[in-house]
Amino acid sequence: MDFTFTEDQLMFREAISRFLMTEAAPEKLREIWETDEGRSPELRTKIAMQGLTALSIPEDNGGLGMGDVAWSLMTQELGYYGIPDSLADTAYVGAGLFSALDDSFAEKGQYLNQICDGELRLAIGHQCSPMVADAHLAEVLLLQHGDEVHLVSQDDISDVANPSIDSSRRLSQVTWQPTPETCIASGEAGAAIWNETLNRGALSVAGQLLGLAQRMLDLTVDYSVQRKQFGKAIGSFQAVKHHLADVAGKIEFAKPVLYRAANSLETNHPLASVHVSQARQFCSEAALLAARHGIQVHGAMGYTWEVDLQMFMKRSWALNNTWGDATFHQARVQDYVLNSQVDLAPSLTFE
């Protein structure tokens, strides 16, 4: 029984954090937000050079062979810096999907290699949403049709942009035609892949929400120390202190829930879906409270376009309902607690 991370995992996180601190500074985010495509190929290339795209690719395919537990640290960094890229969907969720495919799918290795090298732009369309993120740029799309998984190239879709309040998200409605040739998994295998993919997407969002919560808290603490009213830093007022202490509490208790969910996904725990949804709830609560208390403590400044807080708030509000909306995750946890026949003894936590 050991809840801690390996040296490797922690060092990797450190490295990514240092990298993003300079490469994804708020000015750069704003620049990318304003572009038509909403993406920076240059940033993606640099990210690949850091090894992030290789993180969960199996070692046989040239990757680092790390799993969901390592990603639960990495997604927090992606959230903290609010990077406008589909990196997690490609290198984490997409890589997981390809890995789960049967070896009879001949191009499996080739796609994993491409993801590993940062050369593949990928979009995933799951039935939990009528929109597909990054479809406009994807070379290939993995699309759901009932239990079937289809691999469709950019040439075979048409997409209509649906702009989001979070300019770092680029969403489209995608029209396409499922054919026997595009189908790469179906039946029980397909259903299992989509279920796992949804869980992995949801966990990726959970990690990002937790990172966003921490970012908004840090920004707000800084602001509350600098801003003076009544001759004092507003951070010395107790009402402000308690707002921020409550955010710190939400973050603190979300962490172990996130890590356990990651471990459950990595080890195929029978309750992985419940644990993932639980993590989503805790991380969402942290991010939403960080946004609400963050803007409150910033006063009118928080309501402006100019102050960086807005980028992180908007991203939190948007992510809160992606890869399963908040209600979906609430319902999954609730269904387990109320409707399963399990006698929920205290000794069951890790069973």
């Binding site: 830093a233 710190a248 946890v333 109320l338 929920l344 205290p346």
Partner: protein, 388 residues
């Protein structure tokens, strides 16, 4: 990360489970806030101790079993899961016990710990005074050195179960004229000493749950001081850290209560579902208790890695006390019209369990450092916000 138990940990769990299955009283013991109930709890504690299961994580030489913190968490899961009686001597065993292990002399440990483990000595905490609640540094009860003993004068209050306890521990001002947290000493006082008067205070439920303690020229040997003279604040703060941090409210206690809440919901589903928010709250209670347990295992992992748990332990206190309120508020909603009934009322079945818990949950955000104070601590010491 490896979230599975080792074979040794599983074997320990099984051993504890089997012993409890054979020994936990079939009938619930009467509340320990009555004389009779207190005695029955003391007997239970002594039985637990005889089986080596009273203070599992203390060293064997002091009446413990030398378990690590993971084994302690396992023990707690089994203990509460078996519906075993609430522990009656925890304020001594966990709070003073931890302090003695860290700051006590070899003689003090040998004299006090084994009798505490067996509950031959029952302990009460004596920090609060009428003018020193949240502002504990305002303590004014005095302990003036006179040769090989101190002479105590003053008043303590809110001392839980002091009317039945054998000893009390707390802070006294040993340096006349000293201010705030300077000049305080940490003393252990026998409650049968001459000059000690104990006045019970009825709590919300009408029982004598806590008491005022008056000291009128009470002599206490210098050997009963823990740590250096005048340095008691430092010693006490270590105790407070333990109290809030991990030990006082182990996760299993809440997980067991939530297990009952879920059963209460399932048994009354049709009626409860008239308000869909009840199901939402029941699920949230489960999720919170689970998160609290995960957080405890996570904390133990960090401690085992050599990390120190600092002011963030204040977050724990806020979390469990608010969770306990939600659990009991939700139970009261499910019980609806009959929720108000006292134990023994013909229509009351398990109601009294929830009503008692509901009342006690009201105190959670107040004792062990009020939650407002905990939030101040988090803001100032974890987030680094300026003092007001």
């Amino acid at each position: 990360m490896n979230l599975t138990y080792s074979p040794a940990q599983q074997a320990f769990r099984l051993e504890v489970r089997e012993w409890l299955a054979a020994n936990v009283p079939k009938e619930k013991l009467p509340t320990y806030d009555t004389k009779e109930g207190f005695e029955l709890h003391r007997q239970w504690e002594s039985k637990l101790h005889a089986a080596g299961l009273s203070m599992v994580m203390w060293p064997e030489e002091f009446g413990g079993r030398g378990c690590d913190l993971i084994e302690w968490l396992i023990f707690e899961e089994e203990y509460y899961g078996a519906g075993a009686p609430l522990r009656v001597n925890l304020n001594g065993q966990l709070l003073l016990g931890s302090t003695l292990l860290e700051f006590g002399t070899q003689e003090q440990k040998a004299q006090f710990l084994p009798r505490m483990a067996s509950s031959d000595d029952m302990w009460a905490q004596a920090w609060s005074e009428p003018n020193a609640g949240s502002d504990m540094a305002n303590i004014s009860s005095k302990a003036i050195l006179d040769g090989d003993h101190y002479v105590l004068n003053g008043q303590k209050t809110w001392s839980t179960r002091a009317i039945y306890a054998d000893w009390a521990f707390g802070l006294f001002r040993s340096e006349p004229g000293s201010k705030r947290h300077h000049g305080l000493s940490f003393l252990m006082v026998p409650l049968d000493a001459e000059g000690v008067t104990i006045q019970p205070i009825k709590a919300l439920d009408g029982e004598d749950a806590f008491a005022e303690i008056f000291f009128d020229n009470v002599k206490v040997p210098v050997a009963h001081r823990i740590g250096d003279e005048g340095k008691g604040w430092h010693v006490a703060m270590a105790t407070a850290g333990f109290e809030r941090g991990l030990l006082l409210r182990s996760p299993a206690r809440f997980q067991q209560t939530v297990r009952k809440l879920v059963k209460l919901y399932r048994d009354n589903k049709a009626s409860a579902d008239r308000d869909p928010s009840i199901g939402v709250d029941v699920a949230k209670c489960w999720s919170d208790a689970e998160a609290y347990a995960l957080s405890a295992y996570n904390t133990v992992g960090r401690l085992n890695n050599g990390e120190k748990i600092g002011a963030e332990s204040s977050l724990n206190k806020v979390f469990w006390s608010e969770m306990d309120l939600l659990i009991h508020q939700t139970a009261m909603k499910i019980l609806g019209t009959t929720g108000e009934l006292l134990a023994g009322a013909p229509l009351a079945e398990e109601h009294a369990y929830w009503l008692e818990g509901f009342l006690f949950a009201q105190a959670g955000p107040i004792y062990a450092g009020a939650n407002e104070i905990q939030r101040n601590i988090v803001a100032e010491r974890v987030l680094g916000l300026p003092r007001s």
